[in-house]
């Protein structure tokens, strides 16, 4: 009896400790989950009374949850559409946090070189119009590479994902035909190819299927040492995706006031063309002023100290001037 009383007291004390902490809840995109959880842990270490929880339920879920007001903030890989903003009762500010890039990976028997891809070649491969690896349009930009006479098998993501959004957004910009027949979304009606689930599914399919090409996140390719090709940017330079060339893609873009911007196919001679921001969705008029204040403090820390931690996890940091612009916007637009 006494023992069970003691246990009860302990539980009560623990519960009241937890009560003293302020817990913030967020939900959304899976792509930035590793860096977000790193930030939230580091921030908790600095401020032990603040606990930020994040559930990576996907961008769609993040947008819906923040619209419904069930979370304190959301996160998404693709900006909300005008329609979604019009429907939403909760007004939000898009806060870009880090950058990601998408790279073409391939498996061609006998070819170990880093291939170069022009935008129209990539688009026509994914439209199913380019079907052979030794097509003159591919061999012309890759002199010295001995291509086999093999069919191209296209691999894409089967699950809805920000990665597919970035890739189809890029193809929509460089190919009018892609834009009119397929378009951009987290999943689309792919004209050809087979679907793999997740980066690991696409990479696994490419590895076991000779003659295949697919697109994967730069982070996944870097961490798993998967070779990938170069892509020609709008200045006609072939650029290899890296953290620097991804950040360079953001630097060349004219940033609108609401930060909802696509940076695929950007200007700039060093910019990698298939890149994107990922955003936090911050309610500008939070229901709980105390939580709003905490979130605001966190955002300033994230744009400052937090940015130094991202490269260790293979994310590309924000350009300095964009981070400064975000700080000003958060200060003026987010209450309190």
């Amino acid at each position: 009896m006494i023992r069970s009383l003691r246990v009860l007291v302990c539980i009560a004390v623990l519960a009241s400790c937890a009560w003293a902490q302020t817990a913030l809840n967020g939900a959304g995109a899976t792509f930035p989950y590793p860096i977000y959880s790193k930030w939230f842990i580091e921030y908790h270490n600095l401020n032990s009374n603040i606990q930020i929880n994040y559930q990576s339920i996907g961008s769609g879920g993040g947008i819906r949850q923040v619209q419904a007001g069930t979370v304190d903030f959301g996160a998404t890989d693709g900006p909300m559409t005008d329609e979604q903003i019009a429907q939403s009762k909760v007004k939000v500010l898009h806060v870009p946090t880090v950058l990601g890039a998408v790279v073409p990976a391939y498996n061609i028997p006998g070819v170990n070189a880093e291939l170069k891809f022009t935008p129209d070649v990539l688009a026509d491969i994914y439209l199913g119009k380019l079907t052979k690896w030794n097509d003159p349009r591919i061999t012309k930009v890759n002199p010295g590479v001995n291509f086999p006479n093999q069919n191209i098998t296209v691999v894409h993501r089967s699950d809805g994902s920000g990665t597919s959004y970035i890739f189809t957004d890029y193809l929509s910009k460089v190919s009018p035909e892609w834009k009119s027949t397929v378009g951009k979304n987290t999943s689309v009606k792919w004209p050809v190819g087979i679907g793999g689930k997740g980066n690991e599914g696409v990479a696994g399919t490419i590895r076991q299927l000779p003659g295949s090409i697919g697109y994967i996140e730069l982070i996944y390719a870097l961490q798993n040492k998967i070779p990938f090709g170069l892509v020609q940017n709008s200045s006609h330079n072939f650029v290899k995706a890296s953290l620097e060339s991804t950040t360079a893609a953001a630097a060349g873009v004219k940033m609108p006031a609401d930060f909802r911007v696509s940076i695929t196919d950007p200007p700039g001679k060093d910019a990698y063309p298939i890149a994107s921001f990922t955003w936090l969705l911050i309610p500008t008029n939070p229901a709980d002023a105390n939580k709003g204040k905490i979130l605001k403090d966190f955002l300033f820390w994230m744009l400052d100290k937090g940015q130094t931690m991202v490269e260790a996890l293979s994310y590309a940091p924000l350009p300095k001037d964009i981070a400064a612009k975000e700080k000003a916007a958060i200060q003026s637009q987010v209450k309190p």
Binding site: T30, S158, D159, S187, V188, K189, I194, K197, G204, Q208
Partner: protein, 357 residues
């Protein structure tokens, strides 16, 4: 309630016979003496405790009733929620949704046919491969296996059921698909290519791979149930058939398989249920392409897979609604398949016995 368990309540239930073997057409029916005085023991107990026994009985009755009704409530709630959440898409596409072929999230045009087709074809392919294999395994374990080996094989079969489906999926991508692509598919294309079921580009991944993975996953389900049912066939049945001069194969066929067939069908239905709903392993090997193709080499897509794949990143209202309606379609298809399976059981038993599952 006691009416339904006649065989158990015969006056001297020395060896209670399991339900699947109540009728043995080859040897005449085992007649359960329906007119026998029922539950005389119970009456005696009631007489000795005249007042106290009723109240707990009543409570028990209500609790049991509540459990039974809750199943109905859950089904009704599920259907209601599915219909409610898919209202937008039901309204937009109507009945066309179920036979439309288009799946285009960009232009908000949705049709479920490729997914329904993929689910049914992959599941029936799995049954086609798994049923003979499972029955073979069960026959070997119960009838022919040396005592020492029996435990090992049973354990291994049940181990297959314990492997998580994502492991099957990875194994499918890295082991099964290359094997199919390099050896099995070229062979099938050469020998059976003229049927049209085995033609086209060989990716390894596709409907065939999905069917094989599913078959491996449902073998333990069917095999273990079949084994249980077969070992429930009384030993004297086997001896009787052998005494009539039957060979071992005839004994297994007439004495065992025939008596156990209702239970076997029950196991097959359970296996089919698992195959219809399996998501992770299938999506990793089926190629995830929403199209209706005759060739089993071509990639396909299933209903469970498309929901799992696209739900988390679906942003538009119509898109979400269409995905929920896919869930509704899966529910309806499962219902129809199960109803057909029940009909099959009834037709086998001539309407006398009830299915064991």
């Amino acid at each position: 309630m006691s009416d339904s368990v006649d065989p158990m309540n015969t006056p001297e239930p020395i060896e209670p016979l399991p339900k699947p073997v109540t009728s043995i057409p080859s040897l005449g029916k085992v007649e359960a003496p329906r007119s026998a005085p029922k539950s005389t023991v119970l009456q005696k107990i009631r007489q000795s405790h005249p007042s106290s026994s009723r109240i707990p009985d009543e409570i028990f009755r209500w609790i049991i009733l509540l459990s039974a009704v809750s199943v109905f409530a859950i089904v009704v709630l599920v259907v209601w929620k599915l219909v409610d959440k898919s209202r937008l898409s039901l309204h937009q596409f109507g009945i066309h949704f179920f036979y439309g072929h288009d799946w285009d999230p960009v232009n908000d045009s949705y049709g479920a046919m490729p997914f329904i087709y993929g689910t049914l074809v992959s599941s029936f392919l799995a049954l086609l491969l798994a049923v003979p294999l499972s029955v073979g395994v069960a026959v070997y374990i119960t009838e022919m296996c040396p005592q020492g080996l029996r435990a090992i094989i049973s354990f291994l079969v049940e181990l297959l059921a314990a492997i998580p489906s994502v492991i099957y999926g990875l194994w499918g991508i890295f082991v099964l698909a290359p094997l199919l692509r390099d050896y099995v598919q070229p062979f099938l294309a050469k020998t059976l290519g003229w049927t049209g079921f085995f033609s086209g580009p060989m990716y390894g991944l596709g409907m065939l791979a999905a069917g094989i993975i599913l078959a491996i996953m449902i073998v333990p389900v069917i095999a273990s149930i079949t084994r249980e049912v077969m070992s429930a066939v009384p030993q004297n049945q086997r001896e009787a058939v052998l005494a009539l001069g039957a060979t071992r194969w005839e004994m297994i066929r007439m004495g065992v398989l025939r008596n156990a067939r209702i239970g076997i069908v029950g196991g097959v239905i359970l296996g089919l249920g698992r195959a219809l709903g399996e998501t992770m392993a299938v999506t990793m090997v089926i190629g995830n392409r929403p199209e209706v193709a005759k060739s089993l080499f071509a990639p396909g897509y299933t209903m469970a897979s498309v929901i799992a794949n696209e739900f988390s990143e679906a942003t538009g209202d119509m898109y979400l609604s269409a995905l929920v309606e896919i869930g509704l379609a899966l529910f309806i298809v499962t219902l129809i398949v199960n109803a057909l399976a029940r009909l099959l059981v009834w037709s086998i038993t001539g309407g006398t016995a009830r299915p064991s599952v």
